[in-house]
């Protein structure tokens, strides 16, 4: 599996959004990376016609996922969402007040810039590789190479400098914030889902559905059960074909 894979052919005249994600199909989640899961949940929530392509071609920023629409490549899941909002006249945050939109952004950033690194550190440094829950085997040499790079990234970002217990505590406080804010609500901001729900689901699904052996999953089940309930709500609402996707039967979705 090379990281500079082949480029697929796109029909740039159609309005279909090509959604390119790295082939990290999990045994229990459609993608082991939270960002493709976030972006695809958004596409489903916004009912934007899209075709999912699983190849190892990374974006111009060296990351996954990215999109192509009418000949234009857009990298970074959040920039993709902003682009698609404009292109398709979508605003999943329309029903939120100004303060709620502010809180929505803060939660988005807490999840993607803090909790994400808790997940990364757990998966790459503390977790047994066989517990990753990957659907296909990962060549050990590539795993070791990526792990070394991730160690450097995590140290630079800061999370990698903490002890395993400290990282777990940081994750716990993030889970608590999400759980306390969600409360009894169906989605983060009430009965209607919004953009940040896509991100929160993409991240939490990794702990709740994928890394089921992790102490984080046990912690959520014991102390923050509403987060598990929330993941099931999001999954049932926007991924009724979850099991088929995992089997590879519904790998592309054309609306």
């Amino acid at each position: 599996m090379g990281l500079r894979g082949s480029k697929p052919t796109f029909d740039d005249s159609s309005n279909v959004v090509y959604f390119i994600q790295i082939p990290l199909r999990g045994l229990r989640v459609p993608n082991l990376s939270p960002f493709p899961l976030k972006l695809e949940t958004y596409l489903r929530m916004a009912k934007i016609p899209h075709e999912s392509i699983m190849i190892s071609t990374l974006s111009s920023k060296g990351k996954t996922p990215w999109i192509r629409h009418r000949g234009k490549d857009v990298a970074d899941s959040q920039f993709c969402i902003e682009y698609l909002n404009k292109q398709f006249g979508v605003n999943l945050n329309e029903h939120l007040t100004k303060e709620q939109q502010a809180v929505s952004r803060a939660i988005l950033k807490m999840v993607e810039e803090n909790l994400y690194w808790v997940l990364v550190c757990y998966r790459w440094f503390f977790c047994d590789p066989k517990d990753l829950g990957l659907a296909q085997s990962f060549p050990w040499l590539i795993y070791a190479f990526i792990r070394r790079r991730v160690r450097g990234f995590a140290n630079g970002q800061g999370m990698g400098r903490h002890s395993p217990e400290e990282i777990f505590q940081i994750g716990k406080l993030d889970f608590k914030a999400l759980s306390d804010y969600l409360g009894e609500k169906k989605f983060l901001f009430g009965d209607q889902p919004s953009e940040t729900d896509c991100s929160a689901f993409g991240m939490l699904a990794q702990f709740v559905f994928s890394n089921i052996e992790s102490p984080h999953c046990a912690l959520i089940k014991k102390e923050f059960p509403n987060l598990e309930r929330y993941c099931h709500t999001m999954r049932n609402t926007f991924w009724p074909d979850w099991d088929q996707v995992l089997k590879g039967d519904a790998s592309s979705t054309k609306l």
């Binding site: 920023k61 060296g62 990351k63 970074d76 920039f79 100004k98 303060e99 939109q101 502010a102 809180v103 952004r105 803060a106 939660i107 988005l108 950033k109 807490m110 810039e113 803090n114 450097g152 990234f153 995590a154 630079g156 970002q157 800061g158 400098r161 903490h162 400290e166 406080l173 993030d174 608590k176 914030a177 999400l178 759980s179 306390d180 804010y181 409360g183």
Partner: protein, 277 residues
């Protein structure tokens, strides 16, 4: 005995390894000797805050010492600053020492001090407000921080920012190179200048919209998130006054500047006196 090329290479490697070992040992000994010289009275309840020296425009060019010191002032915890370029066990600054215990990382330091001194700046918040407080704290420290760091160290000339004169220019430039590498790994460094400015603007907008007309983020009493937001915004509002971020705040988010003045007047009445001459 005739040495082969392989033998020579092996000898060179061994000599290099020994040299590196000697340098590391000497450096560790020097650090050990230096730590012993710091003025700690471990039997007292004073909290020692180790941070880099004051700037001329701001108490610190880094947001984290300002966050930590503002917290100490709000919580009325007795503390003493130790101005030194001494990094914590995690390789960062600031850090604290209290009763012989070193605690690195500003947030762990605050959590430790909350326990030690029975402080809770968030006692007046509801459960949801505490959750939002954490979210804003993390947005500011894990997102806005990187956007502003990219501006200061990569997009602009770092020598324009207010740094204490004891930090030489070469050290700043070297640190800037490191920030560039870290920012790429973290993710922010992969975006263009315009994209990073856009991200910064959205963060400013979120803080501004949530703050509104309130005195502090959650009403009339400050909390830890206020300390973090203040520490970060101080860099834009009072330090890098020439930056497009400063112009953006003045034109579109004036309540953020008002917030900085409120925090400064309330908890740093000695601001002008403590700055470096």
């Amino acid at each position: 005995m005739r040495l082969t090329f392989g033998d020579t290479r092996l000898l060179a490697l061994a000599a290099g390894a020994i040299a590196v070992g000697v340098v590391l040992f000497l450096n560790a000994s020097r650090k050990q000797r230096k730590r012993k010289k710091l003025p700690y009275k471990d039997e007292s309840d004073t909290v020692y805050v180790v941070q880099i020296p004051r700037g001329k425009k701001v108490p610190s060019p880094s947001p984290f010492p300002i966050k930590l010191e503002t917290y100490l002032r709000i919580a009325k915890i007795p503390y003493e600053n130790v101005f030194a370029r001494k990094f914590s066990s995690k390789g960062k600054i600031p850090w604290i020492r209290h009763r012989g215990k070193d605690v690195p990382d500003s947030q762990f330091a605050i959590e430790y001090l909350n326990e030690q001194f029975n402080v809770d700046l968030e006692a007046h918040l509801t459960k949801e407000e505490r959750a939002m407080s954490r979210a804003f704290l993390k947005m500011v420290e894990e997102n806005l921080y990187w956007a502003l760091a990219c501006y200061r160290f990569i997009h602009d000339d770092v020598r324009k920012a207010d740094y204490p004169s004891v930090i030489p220019t070469w050290a700043l430039l070297l640190f800037g190179r490191r920030i560039k590498k870290y920012a790429w790994g973290q993710g922010m460094g992969r975006h263009s200048v315009e994209e990073i400015f856009h991200i910064t603007k959205l963060d400013f907008e979120a803080i501004s919209d949530y703050l509104g007309d309130k005195k502090f983020l959650f009403g009339d009493k400050p909390c830890v998130a206020d300390c973090a937001v203040f520490g970060m915004l101080v860099q834009v509002v009072f330090n890098q006054t020439y930056s497009p971020h400063n112009a953006l705040i003045k034109s579109e988010f004036p309540n953020l500047e008002r917030f900085c003045w409120t925090m400064r007047n309330a908890f740093w009445p000695d601001w002008d006196q403590i700055l470096a001459a």
